[in-house]
Symmetry: C2
Subunit: 313 residues, 2 copies
């Protein structure tokens, strides 16, 4: 069972389960011509992946962050592990698989901000026989999973339920497996709007939430970007937490950061309204800054931002 | 002065000076949609760069291969150095520059073979104050340079002249510096057709060669792909060495491999007709095989190929 503690205590541990990837981000003027060679103005090597980015957000927000996933036993994998260390995320539980390449993306960002991504993730890296069990989660106060490693995330959700801690699913992909198995494993599901529409068959997010709610006892929500977060309360009434009004200049990873802050808030046993509002603030601040993980705010910045916005949004 | 030796003796050393780069090659069905995420079927990490590929060809052809260039003191640079070691190229003289990223390319190859390349090479990596001097070339029997590191290549050509060994320039870029400085430094210049047209101002390769020949005492040639190699002999008469007729399935790096074999042939003091014919055979064999450096033939395969084609081309 969870230990009781102060909000934001350094003892709070969130384990993130999913995909970690290495991103090579090339900055170019305009879209490269097909069949030609284009010289980029800049190139940055950064770590990426939904649960991986979320774990960095947890660390930035003074939580103990752990990442569990599968990587190849190659130099790309070494770089990903090095980046976790840089951000203070414990990646010692990552499973390294021999003779399988680690996931890598080439991201070409044009001057107007348009991003074109080519990702390679070897299917063998996400073999279904490798699962997360309760022993993997010892000391965790909450678990977050993404569906890019489906069996990892789902088994982690089940293990979380078994040991009585929140299991949060970042539901941003349309998975191939049996959907009810996925819907019933987590204690909390945060959908993206396209994923919710796909799963529920209804384009209206409110109706979509009600449809999926009828198929699970999980708490359910959907993130709608600048339209905020829609969720169902204990009485199954539809609630909206508005987004903060900021000048967004870089939305990359904002969703991942939201999920990390959300899981940390639950781990800290904050009330749900506060959990959502705080996660929204973290995502909003992230959007006001360039540069991936370097743009994730720290706990102090979030507290200041929330105080300054306490009068309204 | 050069030592006399048998053709193809393992004592023959070629130093290649220029750009080394890490290529991430993604295999995709069709051109990725702008602003979207595409999942690649395959991804391969390989070393690239004109002089770097040439040095691997020298090693494959039983020459002692050395590579001299500038790389960042980062993991990308480590991977490039590891790849040289794998192919038996001595890269111990590579200069590692702190706080500057090593060159890297993302290459997206579509099912029909079309390649779209985005390269990043930090201009600071090719700072003009770093030059190659005679001491860097001790033990070399020939030097090859590419213009992606212009001051490196040109200073290497001058040092080669100073110690009395051939200095071969792979002239495949339109350089920014004073052109006559570049034309007079090498003992041998091998142009690409577009570079020759740009430098000479004449689209006819034969006329182009005559124009550049009037500005240098270097031996000059231009490679024309399946149309062979055009060159000027000692009497300044135009000569053609036809290309070998093969079923080309992968032409990537064929030019680089030609230059490496050409420099090795000069280092082995072969007659010029034989040097060109042999380098053409190496490039032709390379084109019949998939897979970058793995497709470069060894000396024995080249000898067999040349015997089999001795009756004609």
């Amino acid at each position: 069972m969870r230990r009781l503690r102060e909000y934001g205590s350094a003892m709070t541990t969130v384990t993130c389960v999913g995909l970690a990837v290495l991103d090579l981000v090339f900055g170019v003027d305009a879209r490269p011509d097909r069949g030609r060679k284009t010289f980029a103005d800049s190139m940055t090597v950064i770590g990426g992946g939904p649960a991986a980015n979320a774990s960095v957000a947890v660390a930035r927000l003074d939580g103990n962050a752990r990442f569990l996933g599968r990587l190849g036993d190659d130099v790309i994998g070494d770089l990903i592990i090095d980046d976790f260390a840089k951000w203070g995320v414990d990646a010692s539980g990552v499973r390294r698989i021999r003779s399988i390449p680690s996931p890598v993306s080439s991201i070409v960002v044009e001057a107007d901000g348009e991003r074109t991504i080519v990702n390679h993730s070897d299917p063998m890296l996400f073999a279904p026989e490798d699962i997360i069990v309760a022993d993997d989660l010892v000391g965790s106060d909450a678990v977050l999973g993404d569906l890019l490693w489906p069996t990892g995330a789902i088994s982690a959700m089940r293990a979380a339920r078994a040991i009585g801690i929140p299991g949060v699913l970042d539901f941003d992909e349309t998975p191939r497996g049996p959907i009810d198995l996925i819907l019933t494993a987590p204690t909390h599901i945060v959908f993206s709007a396209p994923a919710l529409a796909s799963v529920s068959g209804d384009l209206d997010p409110g109706k979509g939430l009600e449809i999926v709610r009828s198929r699970t006892d999980s708490w359910v929500a959907v993130t709608l970007g600048s339209d905020g977060v829609l969720w169902l309360d204990e009485a199954d009434d539809l609630r909206t937490t508005p987004a903060f009004d900021v000048d967004a200049i870089d939305t990359l990873g904002a969703g991942d950061v939201f999920h990390g802050a959300f899981a940390l808030g639950l781990a800290e046993t904050r009330p749900i309204e506060q959990v959502i509002r705080r996660a929204s603030a973290v995502a909003a601040l992230k959007c006001t800054r360039f540069g991936g993980r370097a743009g994730i705010p720290c706990a102090e910045e979030v507290d200041e931002f929330l105080s300054s916005r306490s009068a309204g949004q």
